[in-house]
């Protein structure tokens, strides 16, 4: 199977449409396997997933349309889904494969009745029949086929059953182009009105089928009505008929929904044969434990602890291996390039460090999405959201935000990516924007360094521990009001009810879990990874230039003229490195904006270290090491670095770092967006730089203001 970039004209386009949780993704994975492309609709957290397969020599492109409940879009995802089907995004599909969940017939049939209005050839893929069989229920496929007027293929996607038949049916549907037409049993008044309006339209030369006319009649907000605006007679005719049939506007949708559901219930009664009344017995028994008010919560917190430990603790040895591996490559490459220092620096500190900065995220992403794949696949994720909704719901989030936010305490990158477990675009956006406020593990070195240098010597280890603990809640304390405000300003439009489906428990499909993990890793490497890599090299360049022989010899001379005790404290190499950073573009910029940071208690050295930490927060520690002439190997436990910070002075002799400025710096790091990977991930997940810029600007502003307040208040109190 060859992967095609742009589908040639001979490739047929298949739209995979269905309810959320209908088994659509499993079917999509089974049909297309590894031939998937994941993109993003611009500016929204909705992914566009397409894949290809070939069948009997023809190529098919499959669009995995976001799961939807109604063709009358009320959510952003649904809007894009209906657009994808109408063909306003790219070309219209040649055929619809409607994924019909046999265990949830009525609601699935409701959506099916609406997709008919698209007037496209349709094939029904009947899923979850294996689950029904376990509950001793059965669907009469032939009866369903005759009721729906379209081919129905029973598929068990994870066992690859029925796939070939489905592909045959798709090929036939495209060749025959038969458009289904069924009687949904609308009330006579509606049908007569539609008949009259259809005639009126035909006389006016407007081409429309009956279901489109009915849609326009029953739903005054539908897109169809705006198309009629140029024709006042027709608009008036519609208004009169609507008045006669319905009265109030909401009644239109009520009549419509009632009719469709009545039809769906009739079909269900005709095709579903159940010999056992113990429907969902097993699933309900599991639920009695897993959503129990005591055991349910205990199991939930136990599982969440396991997830968190896995990405926080268990991932760290793997990340250590990656870092050691990169260092080994750096050490191996470095001597070979010793003759050309600039190239050596570019390759070692720029390119290899940049690759390291990307790859180091993979263990956490892979582990988290493995958990999410399993939890989602079994149906537990929905239960977790059910348990947690009350805690997160009041500020405008919902229960599904728990895992993304918890993960963000380890690292915001997998946390933001995990926001896609949320069902709607707006709550995904809100979650992605607050996730970076959670205190990630990269903030820890900053806290340990500063608490070790300033809090512990004065107040002892107990207070130091308490401060470290409290620092983890600074971001949360700011994030909660922030999401509350976001939901009342930016995301105010269209507050939808939070709908959570509790599907039956099932075993996770390992193939789906594996595909989830590989897709997420691939997406991260391709999009966020590229941005992180390029920006790492830009920051390297800003720290390495300008650079000249003349400057280096000036630094050497300056070092030689220093006192012996000065030279004893720092090596020539480290001294020169510190001077280079001071005179680099970034150092110049740090010195230029020093006045802005003085109110927060930072001098140019701290400011430059903060700027140099833009790729990742923890870099601030080694940047301080370099700036204080201790070399870049200094870590947060370094005694030399702690004492260098404690002894640093302003030009007028006042100590640079006091309790107030240490607190200010910690608060700044708790709130700032000095993490390139996070911003790159926000860009990727929201499909727009706008949100990454918004996140950076709002977090930096908050961090700056909070740091100023802490320093100003702190230096007066302490």
């Amino acid at each position: 199977m060859a992967r095609t970039k742009a589908a040639p004209a001979s490739t047929a386009c298949v739209a995979l449409v269905g309810n959320p949780n209908s088994g659509k993704t499993t079917l999509f994975n089974a049909l297309t396997g590894m031939n998937q492309k994941v993109g993003n609709y611009p500016g929204v957290t909705v992914e566009k997933v397409t894949g290809t397969y070939s069948h009997q020599g023809s190529q098919y492109e499959v669009v995995d349309v976001p799961g939807l409940y109604s063709m009358r879009p009320v959510s952003l995802d649904e809007e894009l889904a209906t657009k994808a089907m109408a063909g306003t995004e790219g070309r219209p599909p040649d055929v619809i494969v409607f994924v019909l969940d046999a265990s949830n017939l009525e609601r699935n049939l409701f959506l099916f009745s609406q997709t008919l209005a698209a007037g496209l050839p349709t094939v029904v893929a009947l899923t979850m029949t294996d689950m029904l069989a376990r509950e001793r229920a059965e669907i009469d496929v032939a009866a369903l086929e005759s009721r729906l007027g379209v081919p129905v293929v029973n598929v068990v996607a994870h066992r690859k059953q029925g796939l070939a038949e489905l592909q045959d049916a798709v090929a036939r549907a495209i060749a025959e182009r038969t458009v289904p037409d069924i009687d949904l049993g609308f009330p006579t008044v509606v049908r007569e009105a539609v008949f009259r309006l259809h005639d009126a339209l035909a006389r006016a030369g407007i081409d429309a089928n009956r279901s489109e006319v009915r849609e326009a009649l029953l739903n005054p907000e539908s897109a169809w009505n705006s198309k009629l605006e140029g024709n006042p007679d027709i608009v008036r005719a519609f208004q009169e008929e609507r008045q006669a049939v319905l009265g109030e506007s909401i009644q239109g949708r009520t009549v419509d929904a009632q009719t469709r559901y009545a039809w769906a219930a009739k079909v269900r009664r005709a095709v579903l044969h159940s010999s056992d009344s113990r429907v969902r017995a097993v699933s309900d028994a599991i639920d009695r434990v897993l959503t129990h008010r005591v055991f349910g919560l205990l199991i939930f917190f136990g599982l969440m602890y396991l997830v968190f430990q896995s990405i926080y603790t268990f991932a760290s040895p793997i990340m250590g291996w990656i870092e050691n591996g990169i260092q080994a490559v750096q050490a191996a490459v470095s001597p070979a390039l010793a003759g050309t220092p600039l190239l050596q620096s570019l390759v070692v500190d720029g390119v290899l460090a940049g690759i390291g900065a990307v790859v180091v995220f993979l263990p956490q992403i892979a582990i988290l999405f493995c958990f999410i794949g399993i939890l989602e696949g079994t149906g537990y994720l929905a239960r977790a959201a059910f348990l947690m909704d009350r805690i997160l719901g009041w500020c405008g989030l919902n229960g599904r935000a728990f895992i993304p936010l918890l993960s963000s305490f380890a690292c915001a990158v997998p946390g933001i990516m995990a926001a896609r477990v949320m069902p709607d675009a707006r709550s995904r956006m809100a979650t992605a924007l607050v996730a970076p406020f959670m205190s990630c593990s990269a903030r820890l070195p900053v806290y340990v360094l500063l608490i070790g240098a300033f809090v512990e010597p004065q107040f002892g280890p107990a207070v130091a521990g308490a401060v470290l603990f409290l620092m983890h809640f600074v971001g949360l304390a700011v994030a909660v009001p922030m999401v509350w405000i976001l939901n009342r300003s930016l995301f105010k439009t269209k507050r939808l009810p939070f709908v959570l489906e509790l599907p039956r428990y099932q075993w996770p499909r390992w193939r789906d879990v594996a595909l989830t993990v590989t897709t997420r890793v691939k997406v991260f490497l391709q999009t966020a990874g590229t941005i992180i890599f390029v920006m790492s090299i830009v920051i390297w360049a800003l720290l390495s230039f300008p650079k000249s022989e003349a400057m280096d010899s000036r630094y050497k001379a300056a070092y030689q003229s220093q006192s012996e005790s000065f030279k004893e404290a720092r090596s020539e190499e480290n001294y020169i490195q510190a001077q280079r950073v001071r005179d680099s573009y970034l150092g110049q910029f740090g010195r230029a904006i020093e006045p802005a940071f003085v109110p927060a208690g930072f001098d140019w050295r701290i400011t430059t270290a903060v700027l140099a930490a833009f790729p990742a927060r923890e870099v601030v520690v080694s940047a301080l090491g370099i700036i204080f002439s201790l070399g870049g190997d200094a870590d947060e436990e370094s005694v030399d670095l702690r004492s260098a910070l404690a002894q640093a002075r302003w030009p007028d002799g006042r100590p640079l770092m006091t309790m107030a400025s240490a607190a200010s710096l910690m608060v700044f790091f708790a709130l700032c967006a000095q993490c390139l990977a996070t911003l790159a991930t926000i860009k990727r997940e929201t499909g727009s730089w706008k949100w990454a810029a918004f996140s950076f600007a709002s977090m930096t502003t908050l961090a700056y203001l909070a740091a100023v307040v802490v320093f100003q208040v702190g230096s007066r109190l302490l």
Partner: protein, 82 residues
């Protein structure tokens, strides 16, 4: 034994029927799309440990809804089982 209350408080095991649509807007449309049309009966399967949301069985599907987000629909209690 039908007990008519305008908006009964949900509790476990209760069976309710949607009587009429009183609200308007996207929010109510979503509830209609999910099958909560007038005349539909649903049962309350479970209330979350923290009191909200509630799990209901409607047309064979299990859905969770927040109590306050059922505004716009009127219910009556049909029976109390269990």
């Amino acid at each position: 034994m039908s007990e008519s209350l305008k908006r009964p408080k949900f509790c476990r095991g209760m069976v309710c029927r949607v009587t009429c649509v009183t609200g308007d807007g996207e929010h109510v449309c979503r509830l209609l799309d999910l099958g909560l049309t007038p005349g539909t009966e649903f049962s309350v399967v479970k209330v979350a440990p923290l009191g909200d949301p509630v799990e209901i069985d409607v047309r064979g599907a299990r859905l969770c809804l927040r109590r306050r987000e059922t505004q716009g629909l009127d219910f009556e209690q049909v029976e109390q089982s269990g």
